[in-house]
C-alpha cells in the first residue's frame, strides 16, 4: 500500500486555508468599511460646518456679509486634530478665508447642495465641502460659495485603529476556525477509523460481514469490503471442503491398504519381505495420520467460526483423549500419566479433544521409546491449564509463534514423519476459545512442555 497523505491533514489544511482567506477578506472589508464610515463622518461634519457658515450669509448695504459661527469650527475638532481651512467666495472673488485653497470648480453649482472633493493644500491631503448660496446683494443676485476643508489625519487614525482591531479579530477568528476545523475533521473521520479498528481487531478467520452503522459515504467501501470477505470466505470454505474431501478419499483406501498389508504380514514368513511390509504399514500410518490432521484442521477452521459452547469437564475430556491415544503410546512403550482435577468450562468438546490429541500425539511422536509423557489438568488464575510434558528432544531454536505456523516444523525433527499441523490446530482451537498455547522447555531443561491455557 502506498500512503498518499492523510485525509485529515489535507482537510484541516484546506479548511485552514479557507479560514485564512475568509479572515483576510473580512479584515479588508472591515478596513474598507471603517475607512468609508470615518470618511463619511468627516464629510457630514464638513457639510454641517459649511452649512452653518452659509446660513449666516446676508446682504448689508449691497454687500455680502457673513459671520463665521464659533460652532462651525469647533465641531470640526470632533474628528481629530486636523488642520482646518476655509474660503468664502462671492461671484468668484475671495471674500474671506484662504484665497489659494484649491476649491473644485463646479460646473453647475446647485444651490443648497453640498459638493465634496479631495485635494492637496499646504502639503497635506484635504477633504473639502463646498456649498453655494445665492445672496441678493443690492439688486444683483450673487452666488456665494462656502468651502470648508480639513486634513484627513483623524480619519486615517480612526480607520487605522479600526483596521487594527479588525486585524486582531480576524486573527482570533482564524485561530478559532482552525481549531474548529481540526475538531470537525477529527469528528468526521472517526467512523472511518472506527471501521478500520473494527476490521483490524477481527480474528484471522473472522470473515463475517461488517455489521456496523456507517456514514453514507462509507457505505460503498463497506459493501465492497463485505463482498470481498464473502468471496474470500467462500474460497476458503471451498479449499477446506476440498481438503476434507481429499483427506477422506485418501484415508479410506489407505485403511484398505493397511488392512491388506497386515494380512500379508501375517501370512509371510520371509523376514526381508516382512520388514518391507512393516515399513509400508508405517508409511501408510503416517499418511493416514497426516490426512487425519488435515481433516482435523479443516474441522477446526470450520467449527471455530461457529463455536459450540457446552459445559464440559476437562478432566473427563483428558481421560478420554488419553485412553484413545494409549494404543499409539504403547507401541513405543510410552506411558501417559494423567494428573487431572475437575475443571468445568464452556467449550467445544470436539475441538478441545482435537487440540489435546494433537499435542499429546506430538509428544508421543517426538519422545524416545520407554519414556513418560505427563498430562496435568489444573485450575490456574481463574482458568484451566492443560500441560503436556515429554522427555523428547525439546522444541529447538525456532521461536514459539513460528512453531504454531501451518506446515512449519522444528529444526530437530529430522527423521520423524510429521505434517507440521499439530500445534497449529491446537493453537487455532485455543484462540477460538479465547485462550492460548504456551511452549516451554521441559523441567530440568529436558523435553518440552506444551500448555493449553483456557480462560
Amino acid at each position: 500500500m502506498t500512503a498518499t497523505g492523510s485525509i485529515g491533514r489535507r482537510l484541516t489544511l484546506l479548511l485552514a486555508g479557507v479560514a485564512a482567506l475568509l479572515s483576510l477578506m473580512s479584515w479588508s472589508m472591515v478596513t474598507g468599511l471603517a475607512r468609508q464610515a470615518s470618511e463619511r463622518t468627516q464629510d457630514n461634519v464638513l457639510a454641517a460646518s459649511a452649512t452653518s457658515i452659509a446660513e449666516t450669509l446676508r446682504s448689508e448695504q449691497g454687500e455680502v456679509r457673513l459671520e463665521l459661527p464659533y460652532s462651525a469650527f469647533s465641531m470640526l475638532g470632533a474628528i481629530g486634530e486636523d488642520r482646518v481651512f476655509y474660503l468664502v467666495t462671492a461671484d468668484g472673488e475671495a471674500l474671506t478665508g484662504y484665497p489659494d485653497l484649491p476649491v473644485p470648480s463646479l460646473d453647475a453649482p446647485a444651490p443648497g447642495r453640498v459638493d465634496f472633493d479631495t485635494g492637496a493644500y499646504l502639503g497635506e491631503e484635504v477633504r473639502m465641502a463646498s456649498l453655494t448660496r445665492v445672496v441678493l446683494a443690492g439688486a444683483e443676485p450673487v452666488p456665494v460659495t462656502v468651502t470648508v476643508a480639513q486634513t484627513r489625519n483623524g480619519v486615517t487614525a480612526i480607520a487605522g485603529e479600526l483596521s487594527q482591531l479588525a486585524a486582531i479579530l480576524s486573527v482570533a477568528f482564524f485561530v478559532v476556525a482552525v481549531g474548529l476545523s481540526f475538531f470537525a475533521v477529527r469528528t468526521s473521520l472517526r467512523p472511518l477509523n472506527e471501521i478500520a479498528m473494527a476490521v483490524s481487531r477481527r480474528g484471522p478467520s473472522d470473515l463475517r460481514p461488517l455489521r456496523r452503522p456507517a456514514p453514507t459515504e462509507l457505505a460503498p467501501l463497506m459493501s465492497a469490503l463485505d463482498r470481498l470477505m464473502d468471496r474470500l470466505g467462500q474460497s476458503i470454505r471451498r479449499s477446506e471442503d476440498f481438503i476434507t474431501e481429499a483427506a477422506h478419499r485418501v484415508r479410506t483406501p489407505l485403511a484398505t491398504v493397511r488392512a491388506q498389508a497386515e494380512i500379508a504380514l501375517r501370512s509371510i514368513r520371509d523376514e526381508t519381505e516382512r520388514a518391507r511390509l512393516r515399513r509400508m504399514i508405517r508409511a501408510v500410518d503416517e499418511s493416514s495420520r497426516s490426512a487425519g490432521q488435515l481433516l482435523d484442521h479443516a474441522i477446526v477452521a470450520f467449527r471455530a467460526d461457529d463455536l459450540a459452547r457446552d459445559r464440559l469437564d476437562l478432566a473427563d475430556l483428558a481421560r478420554q483423549t488419553v485412553e484413545a491415544l494409549e494404543p499409539t503410546a504403547a507401541m513405543k512403550d510410552i506411558e501417559i500419566r494423567l494428573h487431572a482435577e475437575p475443571a468445568e468450562i464452556e467449550g467445544d468438546a470436539i475441538l478441545l479433544d482435537n487440540a489435546l490429541r494433537n499435542v499429546l500425539d506430538n509428544a508421543i511422536k517426538y519422545s524416545p521409546e520407554d519414556t513418560v509423557v505427563t498430562l496435568h489438568v489444573a485450575r490456574r488464575d481463574g482458568g484451566v491449564r492443560m500441560s503436556v510434558t515429554d522427555e523428547g528432544p525439546g522444541l529447538g531454536e525456532a521461536p514459539a509463534d513460528q512453531l504454531t505456523e501451518r506446515f512449519f516444523r522444528g529444526g530437530n525433527t529430522a527423521g520423524i514423519v510429521g505434517s507440521g499441523l499439530g500445534l497449529t490446530i491446537a493453537n487455532d482451537v485455543l484462540r477460538a476459545h479465547g485462550g492460548h498455547l504456551e511452549l516451554r522447555e521441559g523441567p530440568e531443561g529436558r523435553g518440552a512442555c506444551v500448555s493449553l491455557v483456557l480462560p
Binding site: L68, S74, R83, F85
Partner: protein, 341 residues
C-alpha cells in the same frame, strides 16, 4: 575676531529689528557655536530665572531672547523669521500658525506626559494656565461692595460714575492680540460682557497694550480698576506687597483661562535644541510647585483654576475670530461700546 563677531551679531540684530518691533532683548553667550533664538511675548523679568537655569544646564548654547507683542510675533513667524522657539499667550494666533503649517513637530516623553487639552497635534504645547483677573485699588472701593460677578461690577460702576471716570483700564483689543482673545471669548461666553463694556465706555476707559502697565497703574493709584488682566502671579505678588491697597478679583460668573503656548517655527535652524528648550519649559510647567517660575503651573486647571472654568480649548474654533470679516465686525461693536465720546 571678536570685533568681527560682534559686527555680525549687530548686523543680524539690526535686520531683525527692522522686521520686528522689539520690546526687549537679552542674550546669554554660550561656549558652543549654536544659538537658540527665542521669540516671546513674556516679559524678561518673568523669564529671566528660567532662562538662567536653562543656560546653566546647557552652557554650550547661546540663548537669544527677544520680547515682542503677540501680533508682532505672529507676523514675524508668518513671514519666516528665523526663530527656534515662539512663546505666546495669544493662543488663537499661535494656533493659526500651526494650522497654516508654520510649526514643526516635536515628540518627546515630556510631550507625551502633557494632558490632551494642553497640546494640539505634536506642534503646539501649553506650559502655563493663566486666568484673566480684575485688579482693583481698595482705596477706590472704600465704602463700596466688592463685586464678585460682572453684573455686580456693572452695577458698581454705573452707580458711581464720578469715582471711576477715567480710572478704568482695559486692553485695547485693536492692538493687543491677547486682549482681543479675552474679549472675544468673553463675549461668546457671557452676555454681561457687552453690558459691562458699555458702562465702561461711558466712563472714559484707559486703553492699554499690556497687562504689566495696567497693574503698575493700579498699584500707582492712577487706576481704580484694571479689567481682564493677565499675569495674575505678578499681580498677586504686588497685591501682597502693597499692604492691601491692591486686590485681585476673580469673576465668579465666568473667567477666561488661557494657555501660554510654545511652538517650533518652521524656519527654526536648531529644532533639536528648540525641542530641549520646550521640554524643559514643559517640565517646569508640569511641576506642582513652581520654584523658579513666576507663572502658574499647568496642573492647576486640571482641577478648578479660574473658578472651575477650564482653559480655552486649543482647536480650530480659535480661528473663528481671526477671520477678517469677524474681526472687523467684532472690533466695530467693541469700538461702539468703548468709545462713546
Amino acid at each position: 575676531m571678536r570685533f568681527a563677531g560682534l559686527a555680525v551679531v549687530l548686523s543680524l540684530w539690526a535686520s531683525l529689528a527692522a522686521a520686528l518691533e522689539v520690546e526687549d532683548h537679552r542674550r546669554y553667550e554660550g561656549t558652543g557655536d549654536r544659538t537658540l533664538r527665542i521669540l516671546s511675548t513674556a516679559d524678561l523679568e518673568v523669564f529671566t530665572r528660567f532662562l538662567e537655569s536653562f543656560h546653566a544646564d546647557n552652557p554650550h548654547m547661546t540663548l537669544d531672547y527677544t520680547v515682542a507683542s503677540s501680533a508682532e510675533l505672529h507676523r514675524a513667524i508668518r513671514n519666516g523669521a528665523e526663530f527656534d522657539v515662539a512663546l505666546s499667550s495669544a493662543m488663537d494666533l499661535q494656533f493659526q500658525l500651526v494650522n497654516d503649517g508654520f510649526a514643526r513637530s516635536h515628540n518627546s516623553p515630556v510631550v507625551d506626559a502633557l494632558p490632551d487639552w494642553a497640546r494640539w497635534r505634536d506642534q503646539i504645547f501649553a506650559f502655563t494656565t493663566e486666568p484673566a483677573v480684575v485688579v482693583i485699588s481698595t482705596e477706590s472701593f472704600t465704602g463700596l461692595p466688592i463685586p464678585a460677578t460682572r453684573q455686580e461690577l456693572t452695577g458698581v460702576l454705573r452707580d458711581n460714575p464720578d469715582r471711576f471716570r477715567g480710572a478704568i483700564g482695559t486692553y485695547d483689543v485693536r492692538e493687543s492680540g491677547l486682549g482681543y482673545l479675552f474679549a472675544t471669548q468673553e463675549a461668546r461666553a457671557t452676555d454681561a460682557y457687552w453690558r459691562l463694556s458699555e458702562v465702561m465706555g461711558r466712563l472714559d476707559p484707559q486703553l492699554y497694550c499690556c497687562s504689566g502697565q495696567m497693574i503698575d497703574d493700579v498699584a500707582g493709584g492712577r487706576l481704580a480698576l484694571a479689567y481682564n488682566v493677565l499675569g495674575s502671579y505678578a499681580a498677586e505678588r504686588l497685591a501682597r506687597d502693597s499692604g492691601g491697597r491692591v486686590r485681585i478679583l476673580r469673576m465668579s460668573d465666568y473667567s477666561n483661562v488661557i494657555l501660554r503656548t510654545a511652538i517650533i517655527p518652521g524656519a527654526a535652524k536648531e529644532p533639536q535644541d528648540a525641542g530641549r528648550f520646550i521640554d524643559a519649559l514643559l517640565e517646569t510647567g508640569l511641576r506642582d510647585v513652581p520654584a523658579e517660575w513666576p507663572l502658574p503651573p499647568l496642573r492647576e486647571t486640571s482641577g478648578n483654576a479660574g473658578g472651575g472654568f477650564g482653559p480655552i480649548r486649543i482647536g480650530p474654533a480659535l480661528m473663528v475670530y481671526l477671520d477678517p470679516l469677524n474681526r472687523r465686525a467684532f472690533l466695530q461693536e467693541w469700538v461702539d461700546a468703548i468709545e462713546q465720546r
